[in-house]
Assembly symmetry: C2
Homo-oligomer: 380 residues x 2
């Protein structure tokens, strides 16, 4: 007998313990290691948040300085990977490139071999390595499509600064740095979402750190997960005015199209991250074209609430923030990866601390035992 | 409050429907699409089994011929991937190499772009592409460590033949072909094991075919899953006689060491695949050294049953079969991958047919809401 479709997808199933974040008791609020997302987005930097997630506590000034220095040193991309990136086609999907680059880094700098420390430190070293590396490798590949890339290491002290500096080949404004920084904080961690869960399933077999990150990138790639911010941008851009957007959305809803960037499996009435990033979209919208885009987005938000009682999730206004920062749409999901590596890493470390193989059962709906037919007797 | 550790790992949780295989009602037996594993291992070829898993029915003679021709054509490795494989270190983990090669193939021959057919066919084309490709790419990398590889395409009609021919640079005996063929049949599919489940979690976000396979390879890599056959070989090889093995196993059990290749999450009293592959180990053991190895393995089996009521699973005697076929130990887990791509592919297609995002919940055991402390006030 088939499973109830509502019961599928492990929708109400508790798959394990976590001390890393809570996606709201009673469906509200988000904390990382006990700190409210609102406080972190207001007061902290992404580097403090990544440290918090992976180490379990906020860094002191000297902890943070040391961590920033490590992240800065880790901006480098090894020569064999540069050669490999040169072999990849210009029109490839950046998520495929990122998945491959992180996989190959795991060949070249494998866990437990390249570092002379204990396992736990080694895992954390790889975690900090992968964050700036993924930004550098992705942008090296992307920028090489246009011109020879002279320098990958920007020497910037923050991941947001490094990404924007490398992408635009100049030091970003303080406002741009902070806008991207806040977005990275909001994307850093979200409990047992699909990509994090994939990383934990992978880790549960005793696999290595890179494998778990690669499995997570592979999983985040889907439009029902990380791909939503790009889909939201394409939706907003497809309209020329708020009225056109309203008509367009109503039409899509009538066709039962899925509107990306709205609703959430766990949150039921709002996503606490949405208002934070929406405030940044408001702040960055200055040119007339940007102001129109923002009003289109706000009209879509209004119609979605009126018609479906669906609220924007983090992906919806993040798309506008990235667009206003002059980031090409097809790099939106990779930015999600760069940030979420911090959360994934915390979950890999946590899964290892109290590991049990994650191996569910299936409900069999196939045929009963069949007699084997020799190939000559089979009919087409 | 912490979860009961016994309840963790989704051990008794049904995560979805499947019509592909059943890992025994009442913990016994194994069928693929309704056919008993014993019949398939006796009568069918791996190619028939892969076709059965992916297409849902046994092939006719002309179906099989067409499928074999496709697999043969798919033995090729594109030039950019050869160049990339040349960049990878000689001492790398072959599973890391395989994970990376399949990831890069997804960049170079992406889903929905390189083929002018509908989605379903495209997925199945990639499935057949990946099976011989993974054998070719892996062995190209491995053999290049010793000498320039002149020819990757062997023109062999079977995956087992292709693998052995490429590895040993000569046409294998019929007996060797069939021994590896049977092993590939036994490894092809096993319901919601961890790697298959990872592939389904990945697929559930709408991600592409290659991403799901890469996530599965990453997950299979762990010693609690695919890595067990290599660990079993190292265990058997570590003893010089059955008596030494008995003493060694008893000692390890006293230390509560995990003995790889024994027991199973789902099977409770035997693994139906074990006797089939054990018969092949018996058949292949001819040289005195091989006969001793076999008797060491049998003594380990006996002690494990007497002491722990644990039975050998597929991995234990598969290790001996591969060893007797002169396959280096560190290629054992990659062979598991080459075979299991067929089962993973069937699950990716099935997950897409009735998709729902796989996103469980977590049990939060972290701190309650904490006040945010400015960095100056934090203590180390």
């Amino acid at each position: 007998m088939k499973m109830d479709h509502e019961a599928a997808g492990l929708a109400q199933v508790i798959a394990g313990d976590t001390a890393i974040s809570t996606v709201g008791k009673e469906g509200k609020g988000l904390t990382y290691r006990g700190y409210a997302i609102e406080d972190l987005a207001q007061e902290a930097s992404f580097e403090e948040v990544a440290y918090l997630l992976i180490e379990g506590k906020l860094p002191t000034k000297s902890d943070l300085k040391k961590y920033q220095d490590t992240l800065k040193a880790d901006q480098a991309v090894p020569d064999p990977i540069l050669k490999i990136l040169n072999e990849l086609p210009k029109l490839a999907d950046p998520m495929d490139v990122l998945r491959s680059a992180c996989s190959v880094l795991g060949v070249i700098e494998p866990e437990n071999k390249s570092h002379n420390t204990n396992n736990a430190n080694n895992a954390k070293q790889i975690a900090s390595r992968l964050i700036p590396f993924s930004a550098s490798a992705l942008l090296y590949w992307y920028l090489s499509n246009f011109a020879k890339v002279k320098q990958i290491e920007t020497g910037e002290n923050s991941i947001a600064g490094h990404f924007l500096h490398l992408l635009h080949d100049k030091a970003p404004t303080e406002e741009a740095r902070r806008a991207l920084d806040v977005s990275l904080i909001l994307y850093a961690e979200h409990e047992f979402n699909a990509s994090t869960f994939a990383a934990r399933v992978c880790t549960s077999t005793g696999s290595d750190f890179y494998s778990a990150i690669v499995a997570a990138i592979a999983t985040l790639r889907g439009p029902l997960h990380g791909g939503a911010n790009e889909a939201a941008m394409k939706l907003i851009e497809s309209f020329k005015s708020p009225d056109e957007a309203e008509a367009g959305i109503l039409e899509r809803l009538q066709r039962h199209d899925l509107i990306m960037g709205f609703g959430h499996r766990v949150y039921k009435d709002h996503d606490p991250r949405s208002n934070i990033i929406k405030a940044w979209a408001n702040k960055l919208a200055r040119e007339p074209k940007q102001v129109v885009m923002l009003s289109i987005a706000e009209r879509i938000e209004k119609v979605m609430w009126q018609e479906k009682h669906l609220f924007p999730n983090l992906d919806f206004y993040s798309a506008l923030v990235y667009h206003f920062l002059n980031i090409p749409t097809f790099l939106f999901t990779p930015i999600f990866v760069i940030s979420r590596i911090s959360g994934w890493s915390a979950h890999i470390v946590e899964q290892r601390e109290n590991n049990k193989l994650i191996r569910p059962l299936a409900n069999y709906i196939g045929p009963d035992l069949l007699p084997y037919l020799p190939i000559e007797e089979r009919k087409g």
